[in-house]
């Protein structure tokens, strides 16, 4: 079966269509946990701070900013009380993109698909003044764009995503370990991958969980992986590591393959659910805007 048609059939199209962007304007990224941001943002924070939203009063102690004294209270009660406001902070939105060779596959194309999802999420984050970081990884973190904030950088992020090559073997465990070491902040982390990793996904997810992040795992598979159209006596070559598997395709084998895939995905889902990771499986045949506008909202990532 020819592999050529599977490659980037719509590579020339922009990652995000303008009308789709309009729809995205309505959305914002949610976090089930409220994290402490680094900068003032548009998000309520646990911290009391300098927003317009009143939170509480407290007694003045020496050193407090005199600007926040409630002079009306002082006039009435002659006591120095300090007005406390809810702090609005920004959110760290981190997108981890699997850009290994295996993502360069499928019709619709898996790599393009996750790039689009990532672009959409990044756009939503940027228009909501979140700090958006995009990491592309294969067997290591190969490309990154960290701490982008602000609407005007949307085009930069999109260009970055467009230019990330899809190559190299994947090693999620090593990448997660490295990421956990480097990434000090808190926030939402979305992993976009097919999770078809010979090193396994369990260790990698554990590294990420250790950082107390709000984790999302989106598994993207192409229709060809879900329903293989293979037949005959084949020597299957792994596109990433060149591993060869000799198979004679027969109906029992196909059935077995599908059962294994089901089991694999179910295991991944269970693994995630048990650890508070939001898992989402998607076939690239599902239009990515549907995924973003409907499924991700259902899962609570977007509002």
């Amino acid at each position: 079966m020819a592999t050529a048609p599977l490659r980037k059939p719509d590579a020339d199209e922009p990652l995000l269509a303008p009308e789709f962007l309009l729809k995205l304007e309505q959305l914002e990224i949610l976090s089930r946990k409220i994290f402490i941001g680094r900068m003032k943002g548009e998000r309520r924070s646990k911290k009391r701070g300098e927003s317009v939203e009143f939170a509480d009063y407290r007694n003045y102690v020496v050193g407090d900013d005199l600007r926040f004294l409630d002079w009306n209270i002082y006039a009435r009660l002659e006591r120095l009380l300090l007005k406390l406001f809810l702090e609005e902070e920004d959110l760290n939105v981190t997108l981890l993109l699997d850009t290994s060779r295996s993502m360069d596959w499928g019709n619709p194309h898996k790599g393009l698909y996750i790039k689009r999802v990532a672009a959409a999420l990044a756009y939503i984050g940027l228009i909501n003044y979140d700090r958006v970081s995009v990491y592309a990884y294969s067997d290591a973190l190969t490309h990154e764009m960290r701490g982008v904030r602000g609407r005007r950088l949307v085009s930069q992020v999109i260009r970055f995503l467009e230019n990330v090559p899809l190559k190299g073997p994947s090693n999620f465990t090593a990448v997660a370990k490295r990421f956990a070491v480097r990434f000090t902040g808190k926030g939402v982390v979305v992993v976009l991958s097919d999770f078809m990793d010979k090193s396994g996904y369990a260790d990698g997810l554990r590294y990420l969980l250790s950082r107390d992040l709000d984790l999302y795992a989106i598994q993207v598979l192409s229709p060809e992986e879900i329903e293989p159209g293979l037949a005959g006596d084949l020597k299957l070559k792994d596109v990433e590591d060149g591993d060869l598997a000799e198979v004679t395709i027969s109906k029992p084998l196909l059935d077995r393959y599908k059962a294994n895939l089901q089991a694999y995905c179910a295991e991944l889902r269970d693994h995630c659910t048990r650890r508070g990771i939001t898992y989402l499986f998607t076939n690239t045949r599902v239009p990515f805007d549907t995924l973003v506008l409907a499924y991700l909202r259902q899962r609570g990532l977007l509002r």
């Binding site: 592999t3 020597k235 792994d238 060869l244 294994n260």
Partner: protein, 672 residues
């Protein structure tokens, strides 16, 4: 089913099947296909391989198909045969019809040739498996072998081969069966077969006679068998192998010739031609005299109205209007000759297109009357068409001067009338005694009797045809104490009055009274009786009663002193015939139609014509419906198409079909 070539096929299978398996294991060239990840594939393959070591073979439809194809090809190589004879019975009786209708020409050879071919094929299938793998498997253990008995039958049945297992003998003996022109009679064949099938009544040792297992009788015939309902099948099962399909035949079904008594040089020929075929025909009927064409007449015959399927021979198929024609010819023929009638039309059965008749020379009779004086005889003889009728007194006759009356113990006249005369001795010849008895050892003298009437007479005898004796009264005569062999034709109150007696070359007709001693001379029946008697004695008696049919015995009288005669058959073969003590040679092997002639026989008695003249055999159309024997339908066997009914083609065909299926499966890429 068994195999002709099992070892070769086994060897091929032993080589090819492992080779295929090795090819499947080793030389599987896999197409390379790039997939995003082999992770799940590996797992799937491992899962499957864990299940069963031969999973791969079991699940591979292609391998299975290829193995099946090889298996079929190997089967074909083993040359399987279907033992259509299915010789479960250990004894087989082949009844081969060799009657006249079996000479009908079919598309390929005559029916008899086809029957012989079928018989040979049947025989060749016998004991086949004994030579094959089964005896190999049983380590050559003794197995009951099928014995075959071959009987050829037409009118008579003949053992071609007694029970034997020797196929080569059987084949060569069957090949030697020759056609005959006889009618078909199954009864004798079955009786013969039963005689052979019956276990011996006694054995020399004390071993018990095994109960006769029913043998299998296979009748190979065209189904034109007469009297099938009279046939009784006592043991065994009868099966019928039908031969022949053609029905186009026109035949001469009767040929009679007669010389006019009054004008002997004129020959009348009566001929019946009948069409048995499905279509109206036109044919020329030619008469040949001694091989020279004498007369031709065209005849047009309609098709029989109904299919000629008379249930029994006895019910002679009615001659439908127009499908048969009776022709009569008159031709001058003043010498002895062989007459042949011939139909010019070519049809399927040749034997009934020709018929022969042996014509005696024209002859006027010479009659001697030995009497003192008899006016009545003189006046009667004067009115008969005779060459001469001299009179002699008893004294003159006994003197026999110049051997005028007899020579070498033979009468010189065709008929001698003794009127109230008993000669001393009697030469060979034909005699009419009036009021006297012949001087023969077995013939006692008569007792005088007076005044009696005639009580009974054999009205149907040729001698007494148109002879009315009601009012004849005898004044003085003899009552005849005739010998037992004599044929009594008239009886009086006290014994026979007219008797016919033949012995030792003397043919006597003895009347117990002289004509002038009765009132017979005044009756019209007396000249008629004399006419009949002289004609009967002078030649009519020796004319064969009817035409000779194939299978009948010919009788050739030989001149004195001749010990053997040379017979020439219609098929130009010659045979030596031994003359027996009575001076006659017999020949019974008249299985072909035609003229049988001997060299050196008595003139006029030295050739005979044998004709088919059989409506039943000429009607060669195979009878429709199942054959019924003993009022039961007989199972019909299928003809064996090839010498050995091999079925390897089926296996090769199946293999080819499977190859196509395999190709389709391979291209469809959907593996079950």
């Amino acid at each position: 089913m068994s195999f002709l070539n099992p070892y070769f096929a086994a060897a091929v299978a032993a080589i090819v099947i492992p080779a295929l398996l090795i090819l499947y294991f080793l030389k599987l060239r896999r197409r390379e296909e790039v997939v995003p990840s082999t992770l799940l594939w590996r797992r799937a393959v491992q899962d499957l391989q864990v299940n069963a070591p031969f999973q791969r073979l079991r699940k591979s439809l292609l391998l299975f198909l290829q193995l099946t194809v090889i298996g079929l090809a190997v089967f074909a190589l083993a040359r399987p045969i279907i033992q259509s004879s299915a010789t479960e019975a250990d004894r087989l009786v082949l009844l081969i019809d060799q009657s006249a209708s079996m000479n009908a020409r079919e598309a390929d050879g005559t029916r008899l040739e086809q029957a012989k071919q079928q018989a040979v094929r049947l025989v060749r299938t016998l004991n086949r498996r004994n030579a094959g793998w089964r005896s190999f498997l049983t380590f050559g253990a003794a197995e009951t072998r099928t014995q075959a008995l071959v009987i050829a039958f037409a009118e008579r049945a003949r053992i071609i081969s007694p029970f034997t297992t020797n196929t080569a003998d059987l084949v060569s003996l069957i090949e030697q069966i020759e056609p005959t022109d006889g009618p078909t009679d199954l009864r004798e064949a079955l009786e013969l077969a039963e005689a052979y099938m019956a276990p011996p009544a006694m054995t020399t040792d004390k071993t018990p006679v095994p109960a006769a297992s029913g043998a299998r009788l296979i009748l190979i015939s065209d189904g034109r068998i007469a009297h099938l309902d009279d046939v009784v099948l006592k043991s065994g099962t009868l099966e019928f192998l039908r031969i022949g399909a053609t029905d186009d035949n026109v035949g001469i079904t009767a040929l009679r010739t007669q010389r006019s008594y009054e004008r002997p040089e004129q020959l009348s020929v009566f001929l019946t031609v009948r069409n048995f075929g499905p279509a109206p025909v036109e044919t020329d009927v030619s008469l040949y005299v001694d091989g020279t064409l004498a007369m031709v007449r065209a005849v047009r015959l309609a098709a029989p109205a109904a299919p000629s399927a008379a249930p029994a021979r006895d019910a002679e198929p009615p001659a439908e209007e127009g499908s048969s024609a009776s022709l009569s010819f008159d031709l001058p023929l003043n010498k002895a000759a062989v007459l042949e009638a011939r139909l010019s039309r070519e049809d399927r059965l040749a034997v009934d297109n020709r018929a022969w008749a042996v014509i005696p020379p024209p002859r006027k009779l010479r009659v001697l009357t030995v009497t003192e004086k008899n006016y009545f005889l003189d006046s009667v003889l004067r009115g008969l068409p005779l060459e001469e009728f001299p009179f002699a007194t008893p004294a003159q006759y006994e003197a026999n001067t110049g051997q005028a009356y007899e020579a070498d113990g033979t009468s010189r006249f065709d008929v001698v009338i003794f009127d109230k005369v008993r000669p001393a001795k009697l030469p060979a010849g034909n005699f009419l005694f009036l009021g006297a008895t012949p001087p023969l050892a077995g013939f006692p003298e008569g007792q005088a009797d007076e005044n009696f009437a005639l009580i009974w007479w054999e009205e149907t005898h040729p001698l007494l045809r148109h002879v009315a004796l009601d009012s004849v009264v005898v004044a003085k005569g003899l009552s005849l104490p005739v010998p037992k062999e004599a044929e009594v034709l008239i009886e009086g109150p006290r014994g026979p009055v007219l008797a016919r007696y033949a012995a030792e070359g003397r043919h006597c007709l003895v009347l117990g009274f002289a004509v002038e001693n009765s009132n017979w001379w005044s009756k019209p029946s007396f000249p008629v009786f004399m006419y009949n008697a002289i004609r009967y004695l002078g030649g009519g008696a020796e004319v064969a009663d009817g035409p000779l049919r194939p299978g009948e015995t010919l009788r050739f009288p030989a001149p004195a002193g001749v010990e053997s005669l040379t017979l020439t058959r219609p098929d130009a073969r010659t045979e030596k015939l031994r003359v027996d003590a009575s001076g006659t040679a017999y020949y019974g092997n008249t299985d072909r139609a035609g003229v049988y002639a001997v060299d050196g026989g008595l003139p006029g008695r030295d050739q005979f014509a044998v004709n088919l003249e059989d409506d039943w055999e000429s009607d060669i159309a195979p009878p429709p419906g199942p054959l019924t024997v003993d009022r039961r339908p007989v199972a019909e066997l299928n003809a064996i198409r090839t010498a050995t009914p091999e079925v390897w083609r089926w296996f090769v065909g199946a293999a080819l079909a499977l190859v196509l299926f395999e190709w389709w499966v391979y291209n469809r890429r959907v593996m079950l």
